[in-house]
């Protein structure tokens, strides 16, 4: 595998506001290898979203070093190494589905042929070819999130940053999209950093799970997920699946709200 594709060393983050300083992250060190699918899980306020945004150079760390593909996070962003998916689809409502997927290609100044063809390929990948001419509001929440995934893949990024992408969806849609996401990731060979509230989702998707705790946000434990690939519906029925869910749940025990599954979807870490 060689050197890690994402490397955080001693990262701290303190948010300054009029109410005073809030320590969001303390001493975060993490290395992610190419092709890994790393889930970050933890209760609200544990800084998992901040962690993701620091990797994507959307937020500056207060201390510590972030290296992405051997470069600074900023350089990686400028080189367009990232695809990003938020909890809400963040589609531009004045653009059709096709035009939304086209956006990254436009911004990068890609040639016309690519701008025409790439969205078609990607929409086929997420099963939304027939909806290319629709406007976002005409689509269901799950379909909108698939468009947003297609958009994140437009420039074939080596790193996908996903911030609770399925957090606002119902359980059935979520499971189906989990499956689709894994297929997409296999085809694109992207490295994924995936923030989630859901233990089952984290176990099903990832190769490793980073468990975080709040006040200040820090890494409690990293759980390796040794489930066989490809992950299919039957994977959820394996005894090992339940063992891993239990392991992660126990690591999260300190936070009763999360362990019992009563998590408000609007909140992010």
């Amino acid at each position: 595998m060689g050197s890690p594709i994402i490397e955080l060393a001693g990262v701290d983050k303190t948010f300054e506001s009029r109410a005073g300083a809030t320590e969001a992250l303390r001493a975060i060190s993490l290395a992610v290898d190419a092709g890994e699918f790393v889930a970050v899980i933890g209760p609200s306020g544990c800084g998992k979203s901040s962690l993701l945004r620091i990797v994507g150079d959307l937020v500056e760390p207060s201390a510590g070093a972030v290296r992405v593909k051997g470069k600074s996070a900023r350089q990686a962003r400028l080189d367009r190494d990232y695809g990003i998916v938020f909890q809400t689809p963040v589609l531009y409502e004045w653009r059709t589905v096709r035009e939304n997927v086209q956006l990254p290609l436009e911004l990068a100044g890609r040639p016309r042929v690519e701008r025409e063809q790439r969205p078609r390929t990607l929409l086929r990948l997420v099963g939304l070819e027939e909806f290319a001419g629709h406007y976002p509001w005409q689509l269901s929440g799950g379909m909108q999130q698939r468009v947003s995934i297609a958009r994140a893949l437009a420039l074939n990024p080596s790193i996908l940053l996903m911030d609770e992408p399925f957090g606002a969806l119902d359980e059935m849609t979520r499971e189906r999209l989990n499956q689709e996401l894994l297929q997409v990731c296999t085809e694109t060979a992207a490295t994924v950093l995936f923030v989630t509230h859901s233990i089952a989702e984290a176990v099903f998707l990832s190769t490793r799970i980073v468990v975080m705790s709040p006040r200040p946000g820090h890494i409690d434990r990293v759980v390796a997920v040794d489930l066989p690939h490809p992950r299919v519906d039957k994977t959820r029925a394996l005894p090992r699946f339940f063992e891993l869910v239990t392991t992660v749940r126990q690591s999260l025990r300190e936070d009763p709200g999360l362990a019992s599954g009563h998590v408000r979807p609007g909140e992010s870490g």
Binding site: G56, L58, I84, L107
Partner: protein, 251 residues
């Protein structure tokens, strides 16, 4: 709806026994359009010419004010410092009665159509500035984060995100401005020296009101029609441009 208004109108006139100098019959107003003016022309033709003149001034003023408002909004959205410095004066400009300013503008710029257009622009730019600068700022933070993650340039962020997402705000302002610009043009025509436009017709009709009240009512009706026409023209453009929005106006 129009029938209902007419019914209430005529009912009020009969019920309160209002003389025609307080409220003329609707047919008296209609008949006024078919009366011959001093020059031997039909009033319908006189009104149409003056309405056209006023509409043109309003349109130019609307365009002028719209562009001014937009430029200010973009400037404010880009620089808090500029906004803090200029906004108090922009607000103050709208607290001064337009009736007081109009004669001065006419004195400065002459009695041509240009001074009227400037007065129309004076009423037009304010809603555009206020609404649009808000719209340009009211961008979803995640939509901005997406732009940043995709290494978009400031120019791209403006044209591909801020401006289109502020379009509904712009059109809300333009609908207000459309009617205000007509008012501005008419007020601009009131000062002595003007020769054309609905403002001139209104002043003259007001002077002879006791003698021929229907004339003023006819002029008011025509002025209202210009304003309504402007409003609907803007709304029609809005429906085309912001067709993607669920909140575009129905009518």
């Amino acid at each position: 709806m129009l029938v209902a208004i007419a019914a209430v109108w005529e009912a009020a006139k009969t019920l309160f026994a209002l003389p025609s100098y307080q409220l003329p019959h609707l047919h008296e107003i209609a008949a006024d359009f078919l009366r011959e003016g001093a020059g031997g022309e039909l009033w319908l033709w006189i009104m149409t010419q003056n309405a056209g003149y006023t509409a043109l001034e309003s349109l130019i003023g609307f365009a002028l004010g719209g562009v001014t408002g937009l430029v200010l909004a973009i400037a404010f959205a880009h620089s808090r410092w500029l906004e803090r410095g200029l906004l108090p004066y922009v607000v103050a400009s709208q607290t001064v009665p337009i009736l007081a300013i109009a004669p001065m503008v006419v004195v400065w710029l002459g009695t041509s159509w240009f001074s009227k257009a400037v007065i129309a622009a004076y009423l037009t730019f304010f809603p555009v500035t206020v609404n649009m600068s808000r719209g340009l700022r009211a961008v979803d933070p995640d939509a901005l984060a997406l732009m940043r993650a995709l290494a978009a340039s400031p120019r791209q962020i403006f044209f591909k995100l801020r401006f289109p997402s502020a379009l509904p705000y712009l059109f809300t302002a333009l609908r207000i401005s459309a009617t205000a610009s007509v008012i501005g043009a008419i007020v601009g025509e009131l000062p002595v020296g003007s020769r054309f436009g609905m403002g001139v017709v209104i002043i003259n009709a007001a002077q002879y009101y006791n003698w021929r009240p229907a004339n003023l009512w006819a002029a008011i009706l025509v002025s209202a029609v210009i304003g309504i026409g402007f409003y609907h023209a803007v709304a029609a453009v809005e429906r085309r441009v912001v067709s993607w929005s669920r909140t575009a106006p129905a009518v």
